[in-house]
């Protein structure tokens, strides 16, 4: 079993108005086999947390730590984090012109495993995973994300999740912009990757809809760069009914300090 531990994480970005602190002390512990949902209103810092874990250069960690089984993740480069087993399914996957999906997937798999996958089984695995996610076979010949619809891009992110078999998956609003059918397909993919208990998942979402298909063990509510409330799946049901308003209004118990600042 592995543990991804985030301790008192403070993150800021440079803006035209100067340095802006986005995460104001976040602590989370995720073990393989667990699914944690992070929920919160727009601008609460959810995606910042995701990008910071993956090592996006725009985000500066000013204090706190992220460790993977005791190893300092913050000292690792972006590619080292991925090879250590951290996967970020991006909210807006970019198009990479001229690089075919086939070439990209094989290159990434080779980098992550430290050796080239066996050609025959690899081709079969890719094909099977694509079929399960209902991705057309011709996508393999196309350039990475080029001309894909929003839903297609998300499926391709989950395709990578299934093929690369990370220890920890961070899903950054994978559900946003998906219709119900696509949401089911994508959720099934995540559940498959999760099934053998070797992956921990950090599911970042604005809506509770995806939690009908992916059952979280823990729910964390994010407001203004901090976790303001934590609980089990029942917390998600409450959010479904009440929304985030009560945190903003300072009605939530744990939300009081954050709301006072806002």
């Amino acid at each position: 079993m592995s543990t991804l531990e985030i301790k008192d994480l403070h993150v800021s970005i440079e803006t035209e108005q100067g340095t802006k602190e986005i995460l104001k002390g976040v602590s989370l512990t995720i073990r393989t086999g667990e699914t944690h949902a992070i929920m919160g209103p727009n601008g609460s810092g959810k995606s910042t947390l995701a990008s910071t874990i993956a090592g996006h250069p725009r985000y500066n960690v000013t204090s706190g730590s992220i460790t993977l089984d005791g190893e300092n993740v913050l000292e690792m480069s972006v590619d080292e984090r991925a090879r250590a087993g951290v996967f970020l399914a991006m909210q807006y996957p970019v198009e990479v012109p001229g690089v075919s999906m086939t070439n990209f997937l094989r290159t990434a798999k080779t980098a992550i495993d430290g050796e080239a996958p066996k050609l025959r089984t690899w081709t079969k695995d890719v094909k099977a995973a694509m079929e399960q996610l209902r991705i057309d076979a011709d996508f393999a010949q196309r350039n990475v994300n080029e001309g894909f619809s929003g839903g297609e891009k998300k499926r391709v992110e989950i395709l990578q999740l299934e093929l690369f078999k990370p220890r920890f998956a961070v899903l950054d609003e994978t559900d946003s912009g998906l219709d119900v059918d696509a949401l089911k397909v994508v959720s099934e993919g995540v559940n498959r990757a999760h099934a053998d208990g070797n992956m921990g998942t950090l599911l970042i979402t604005h809506y509770t809809r995806i939690l009908r298909y992916i059952k979280p063990d823990f729910v964390h509510v994010f407001v203004d760069g901090q976790v303001v409330e934590e609980g089990g799946p029942e917390l998600a049901d409450r959010l479904e009914e009440e929304g985030y308003d009560r945190y903003a209004k300072g009605a939530g118990t744990a939300a009081a300090p954050a709301a006072a600042q806002a």
């Binding site: 991925a82 996967f87 001229g98 070439n103 990209f104 990434a108 992550i112």
Partner: protein
Amino acid sequence: MTEITTEKARIGAPSAQPFIDGFTEEGESLSPINAGSKAPLAGASAKSHSHGGGVGIPDSSRAGRLTSYKLADFKPLTGMEEDWRFTPLKRLRGLHSEVLSGAAPTVVVNGPEQVTVESVTRDDQRIGTAGIPEDRVSANAWENFAGATVVTIPSEFEALTEISVDIEGTSLDAAAQHLVIVAEKFSKAVVVLNHRGSAVVSENVEIIVEDGASLTIISLQEWNDDAVHASSQQAKIGRDAKLKHVMVSLGGDLVRVTPSARFTAPGGEAELFGLYFADAGQHLEQRLFVDHAVPNCKSNVLYKGALQGRNAHAVWVGDVLIRKEAEGTDTYEANRNLLLTDGARADSVPNLEIETGLIEGAGHASATGRMDDEHLFYLMARGIPEDVARRLVVRGFLNEIIQQIKVPSIEERLTDAVERELALTDN
């Protein structure tokens, strides 16, 4: 210094542009004549932009450029001329000033037996049918060339394999070269000009695409580091004929290729593609001209370049002229440059001159910038080390041109050549 306008891409923003994210469309602002001005259309560049022509620019219309077979008609170069202002004349090694009496690179042609190859003297009647020098260096070659090679693809013949013309330089004495390629009526062929070795040569290539013919010319400049090469490649395109011209410049100290496509009858089509990879100290220049002189012709131009190292310099000037008679014209030209390191410079000048409004479409674009950080982040977030990710992105960027060649052996060779270029530095 070239001003690089890099619009920092929003994090993870979806990219719908048909070019590299974060690049700017304002190519004109990259010209040094525009230095000091922040506005993309301000200052002298507004004048050089050919909608109006203007002060200080000798050719107010591309149509008015001097053409002559006689060297004496062209004044000695000073470097101030519009079409030489980016070229370091000192490095031309006499191509513009000396008698070109050196031995011309050897020419060996291989192809299907139906294709005829002739060595002819200067008075052969086919010489001068497609080309007339437009600059002093080209005229110097015309004045000095000893003999020419004429390659003819017979009418209605469709070549299944490519015709390779190996042009091998063995001396650094300034020399003149002349080639004529004739694609007769309804023929179809791919001709590859392989420029290799060491040479100081001014070359005129005349390309005749007769009615209904379809010709692909691939001009590869894989010279040794000491080579200096100026190549005027002028094509005359007949009724319903198609020309695809792919220029690839990788090796040589100074390489200046000036392809032109002239439509002589309606229904013609021209595609001009270019790929260049400039390393430290290298000067790779390309100036093209598409002359829409008759109605209902189509042209498409795309040149892509990568630059790395100190004083790597690439120049792209694309002149497209739609004359008054050329109604129904459809044209687009674009240039993209990827600056991989500091100290490299790309000049990019798209000129579109339109004399009639009755056209299907006309557009031009230019963008020069650095590698998009979001591309790198995406690939690295999948475990791909930075150097491999950079190579993937550059290869992908240039691949769009390589894919146009459609001769697998050459595509493979060029892919390898690009890999070698990338291996030169830490990209």
